[in-house]
Amino acid sequence: MKLAGHYNKASIIVSVSVLITGAIIYFFVINYIARRQFDSDLSEEVSEVLAYINYRHHLPTRTDFDEDEATFVKTGLKKMDTYFFDTVYYNTKQKRIEDRRAVKGLLRYNNQNYLFTISVSKESTEYLIQIITLITLALMTLLLIILFITNRYILNDLWKPFYYTLNKIKLFNISDDSELQFQTNKVDEFREMNSAVAEMSIRAKTDFHNLKSFTENASHEMLTPLAVITAKLDTLIQDERLNAEQLTHINDIYASINKSTRLNQSLLLLVKIDNSLIKDDEVFNLQEAVNEKIQQFQELMQSKNISVTTHLQDRVITASKYLTDILLNNLFSNAVRHNNINGQLHIILSSSQFIIKNTGDITPLDNNSVFDRFLKGKNSQGTGLGLTLVKSICLYYKFNITYSFKNSMHAFIIDLPVATTNN
């Protein structure tokens, strides 16, 4: 829910509950005041009745009361407190029941105790309460409508600079050289936010540039010692006094150097791809690249006696040739390395997909972690970054890559985007 929605909800709940509470209190207060008014009217009536009796020496007749009802009943009661109460009365003239306020008490006349009841109609007050309720309801509705409109239009307008900034942040590209520009704003909070975002973007860019130069320097610093080791070994193996066992050790060192070089380069490449630092896209035929790669891996495949079946179509893509080469390299290396002796390799390139299938281990790989960094098979001599690189490159070009295991074949499927027409 949007902020305006949340605000609307809260403000409506608060105002409605305040209005309802207010209305209830209002109702009771008016009722109370009206009752007091009735009671005082009735008291006056009673004193009038008493005065009447004292003056005329007989009980008042019905006609002496206008709208009010009064009854006098002889009673044997000696003592009783006068009290007020609500009652209903059937109005014979208007033929309807009406609410009334009444007073009941004792009076003495001619040495005889009378129980008197005088009641007045509450109708006029009820009418007043109805009107007040109606006005309150109308006010409440009006208030809600005004609140809603205010929130909807004025708040939206107020928040406009926020969405503008948000949009800028969404479009922010760390490798872009241009700085974030914001509109000047009257609202303190937004001004503060804009300056904080601008500051943050500058900091992020500086950090990014530092990281970039750090990765480059790290590459230099790590590869130079490896170059020294290689050169020293190349010189060392010229020594004729070395025996076969020593030379075998040296060979193992070569293999380790090779591996750490590869690891280093893969890591640097991953960083570069993740930061979109490689921008040399060109249009070329993927089929040619795949054919070239098959040619390159010929010997390797022959040495394992792997039979290759291909089904390739022309497919022009726009990508970096360098990255495509790495992508194919890693997929092919993977398919050949983990293949069985006398295994099979299927390579399929259609206009929508590139599929590489190979025989190998009979258990499928874990679909969730197959592309994870440093995850490798038990017998793998690789760096553990090969498929991670593949995934990164696919992500970079928004190709969707999936792994599946069917008919004891491991398959990597790359969905190529819709073909762009080549002018």
């Binding site: 193996i237 020593q246 060979n251 010997e299």
Partner: protein, 268 residues
């Protein structure tokens, strides 16, 4: 007089020895190629600009063994001083130097119209740097770490490319390689080699009398991007085939296996 006459005789004898066809390793018709061979075999004067002293020393000693003259320096200033004072055939240039980028040296060579061959050796495997370097006049680009054998083959290749003319032959005893036509003949009998075998032979000749590790050969022939350091079996197949073809053409068996590490292409 006798002394003088004796000297003359010795001189005459030497002349005969060095010009008579039977003492020449080549057919007289190959005289042009002989001259070419002389050109190729001539000493190279190299300048190694690399700040890592250990690496510089190893490169120097490896390349010097062929009779080349190597000089080294570790920063831009020294390098420009040396380039201003002397002429070199080839410059090995590290891009990351303590007092600036190696590109400054390329700029200097371009501005002073010196035509030294430049081979960049760098740890930066960045495509931008590679393109920039080649655009600024470098002849080749080698990424660290590299095998000294690879470096030597690259230098030889650049040098051959620079001195190439219509008749560009590389001769090693009875083996004659026509670099333009990419054909090989042994004792004037052409032999047919595959592309890999041909590349391998060139690589061996560039690094003759040196032990070359299998990983260096694999990297040279298949590139370092191909990840296969756990399996060198197929190199053996190629070497076996190359050796068989050479021996079948009555070539001496120059390829020697060095157990546990690799191969050596040597005359003796």
């Amino acid at each position: 007089m006798i002394h003088i006459k004796g000297f003359f005789i010795i001189y005459k004898y030497r002349q005969i020895k060095y010009t008579h066809p039977q003492y020449l390793p080549y057919h007289p018709s190959d005289l042009l190629q002989y001259q070419k061979l002389y050109l190729i075999k001539k000493q190279l004067k190299l300048l190694i600009i690399e700040d890592e002293q250990g690496l510089r020393e190893n490169i120097t000693s490896y390349l010097n063994e062929d009779g080349n003259i190597c000089e080294g320096c570790g920063n831009c200033t020294d390098a420009i001083d040396k380039l201003a004072a002397y002429n070199y055939d080839c410059v090995l240039l590290d891009i990351g130097l303590p007092d600036g980028e190696g590109f400054a040296i390329l700029e200097y060579l371009k501005n002073t119209r010196k035509n030294e061959t430049v081979l960049i050796i760098t740890a930066r495997n960045s495509l931008d740097d590679k393109i920039k370097g080649l655009y600024m006049g470098a002849d080749d680009y080698l990424t660290k770490p590299f095998h000294l054998a690879e470096l030597k083959a690259r230098i030889a290749a650049i040098y051959r490319r620079q001195n190439a003319n219509s008749n560009n032959n590389l001769i090693f005893n009875e083996i004659i390689i026509d670099l333009n036509g990419r054909t090989v003949s042994v004792n004037h009998t052409p032999i047919i080699l595959t592309r890999k075998e041909y590349d391998m032979l060139l690589y061996f000749i560039a690094n003759k009398s040196k032990v070359i590790s299998k990983s260096a050969i694999a990297e040279h022939l298949w590139g370092d991007e191909m990840d296969m350091h756990d399996n060198f079996d197929f190199i053996y197949t190629h070497i076996k085939n190359l050796r068989k073809k050479l021996i079948d053409a009555n070539c001496k068996d120059y390829i020697k296996s060095v157990y546990g590490i690799g191969y050596k292409f040597a005359d003796a």
